[in-house]
């Protein structure tokens, strides 16, 4: 057993993690991810406004909002200027971060990438400025930065005399690459009539959302994440690989909801971080409560230490202190609990028993789970689902925890006797 554990740990640490890190640190992927992270503040503000403007209870509040349509439209302004045009910000962000990674002028890179995106998307009234245009934003920004890099590498630039300040010279350096990418984009889209937006939106977006919005991806994700924790490694890299798909699906759900259409994506970020990782990854909150009444003093102390952070889904004290890390007994219920609650959550959403996550961005991962469940779905059914999942995770942990508890009590008694 010890041998198998060591093998698994070495395998993950030496082989899987470096490969994953390499993928996550890929230049393009990194720029896309960082720009999505940079827009988080905006999507959260947008989602809060959506929350206030459309909160479904109590009835008196619903009637008050319905009687004041001007108020509702004012409340929706931040939503319309954040979530609904998210790709504008993403294009700037990718241009900025990608230029930074090439040591090019990043502000100029961000601005010109945004410019190229607006041309590609078809202007400031385009319907491709939201989630549908995300890939146009990605392609436009990468294209723009790569043209710039090509020009810089080949020394194609307007050279300013040395006496001209660097800031001003930077703006001129961008002139030729920007003209080139603008020309190519305009010829391709407006003269040749290549409709890049609808091609990307009808081909690429469905592929990514299909890949991300699937029970198989969800299962692979939680199994790998749990195994990485078993080896004591933070699986952040897995989450960062899924972040683009999560963002696109969240924004699509929110826009659909705001437009009165059904929100169709199930496997958005809170699916995992609210309904499965209850109290943190490995779903330790239920176990944490159980341990408050443990026969072992060490475990009771640990439970008290871990609970305040655990309510906000931070559970390193449980993972490393109990521990669950490298613990072949506790990894079994952890893994089964994670897989089972992925399945129950999927069934609950897919069958419509729990209303869809129309406002997933409001459910920040470190919000206490019942609050996150309620505001991401505007429903009480989601809170019930959450407690059912927590119960499942707790019941699975109990028999295995009793074994660990017995060992610890024996150890404590032995220590008292030797003293």
């Amino acid at each position: 057993m010890q041998d198998l554990m060591n093998k698994l740990t070495t395998m993950l640490e030496k082989h899987l993690v470096p490969v994953m890190n390499k993928m996550a640190n890929n230049r393009y992927f990194g720029a896309i991810r960082d720009s999505l992270i940079a827009t988080m503040g905006l999507t959260i503000i947008g989602s809060l406004c959506l929350l206030i403007a459309t909160f479904p209870f109590p009835q008196s509040y619903v009637e008050f909002i319905a009687a004041n349509p001007e108020l509702q439209s004012i409340l929706m302004i931040p939503f319309n200027l954040s979530v609904s045009i998210i790709s504008v910000y993403v294009a700037f962000g990718i241009g900025y971060y990608l230029s930074e990674s090439y040591n090019l002028n990043k502000l100029v890179g961000g601005i010109t990438a945004l410019f190229t995106f607006l041309i590609m998307a078809g202007g400031i009234n385009s319907s491709y400025l939201g989630a549908e245009g995300m890939f146009t934003a990605i392609i436009a920004a990468i294209f723009n930065v790569e043209v710039t890099r090509f020009c810089v590498a080949k020394n194609i630039a307007i050279k300013m005399p040395k006496a001209v300040p660097a800031n001003i010279a930077g703006g001129f350096t961008a002139l030729i690459p920007c003209t080139l990418s603008t020309l190519m984009t305009i010829v391709l889209i407006y003269f040749i009539g290549f409709d890049v937006n609808s091609i990307l939106a009808t081909v690429l977006t469905p592929i990514i959302t299909l890949a991300g919005d699937s029970i198989f991806t969800a299962l692979i994700y939680v199994i790998l994440a749990t195994l990485m924790w078993f080896a004591g490694l933070h699986p952040q890299v897995l989450a960062s690989l899924l972040t683009p798909a999560w963002t696109i699906m969240s924004v699509a759900n929110m826009n659909a909801y705001a437009a009165g259409m059904p929100a169709t994506h199930i496997f958005v970020k809170p699916f995992f971080f609210t309904f499965v990782f209850i109290g943190g990854q490995c779903g330790t909150l239920a176990l944490n409560f159980i341990m408050l009444k443990s026969k072992s003093k060490t475990h009771r102390d640990l439970a008290k230490l871990a609970l305040p952070a655990g309510l906000f889904n931070i559970n390193e004290p449980m993972l490393f202190g109990l521990p669950i890390v490298l613990n072949p007994t506790l990894i079994i219920p952890a893994l089964i609990g994670q897989v089972t609650t992925v399945l129950t959550t999927w069934l609950a959403f897919a069958s419509g028993i729990v209303p869809p996550m129309v406002n997933p961005e409001a459910a920040l991962w470190n919000l206490p789970a019942p609050i996150a469940a309620a505001i991401s779905t505007f429903s009480w059914q989601a809170v019930v689902l959450l407690f059912v999942n927590m119960l499942i995770q707790g019941l699975l942990y109990i028999p295995f925890y009793r074994i660990v508890e017995k060992d610890m009590v024996a150890k404590e008694t032995a220590e008292i006797e030797t003293n």
């Binding site: 933070h234 640990l302 230490l305 952070a309 390193e316 490393f320 202190g321």
Partner: protein
């Protein structure tokens, strides 16, 4: 004043350890600055530290951190010490490494 930096995935769980370490440092009257950050901000936040401690869950970033912060001693915290948040033990070890 000595500067100690703790790094983990998001700088959240290490901030629990920071509190415990500060408690011990205060109790022995050792003046120091202890902060927790996300591991990907090391180049910005940890370059001028006297010592860097990694949460065990990000120990695989050790080589990268050493490259980003040349000359700063970098160690991963022990898993059990970390889990039980033994600030006193970790702080004592830090004092051994950086000197009082």
């Amino acid at each position: 004043m000595k500067k100690i930096v703790l790094l983990c995935a998001g700088g959240m769980s290490t901030s629990l350890m920071v509190t415990k370490m500060k408690d011990y440092a205060d109790s022995i009257g050792f003046e120091c600055e202890i902060n927790a950050y996300a591991v990907n901000t090391a180049a910005k936040n940890a370059k001028d530290a006297d010592m860097i401690l990694l949460g065990p869950q990000v120990r695989f970033s050790m080589d990268e951190i050493k490259l980003q912060c040349p000359g700063v001693p970098v160690e991963a915290m022990d898993m059990m010490d970390y889990g039980m948040m033994k600030g006193e033990k970790v702080m004592k070890h830090v004092l051994e490494v950086i000197g009082k």
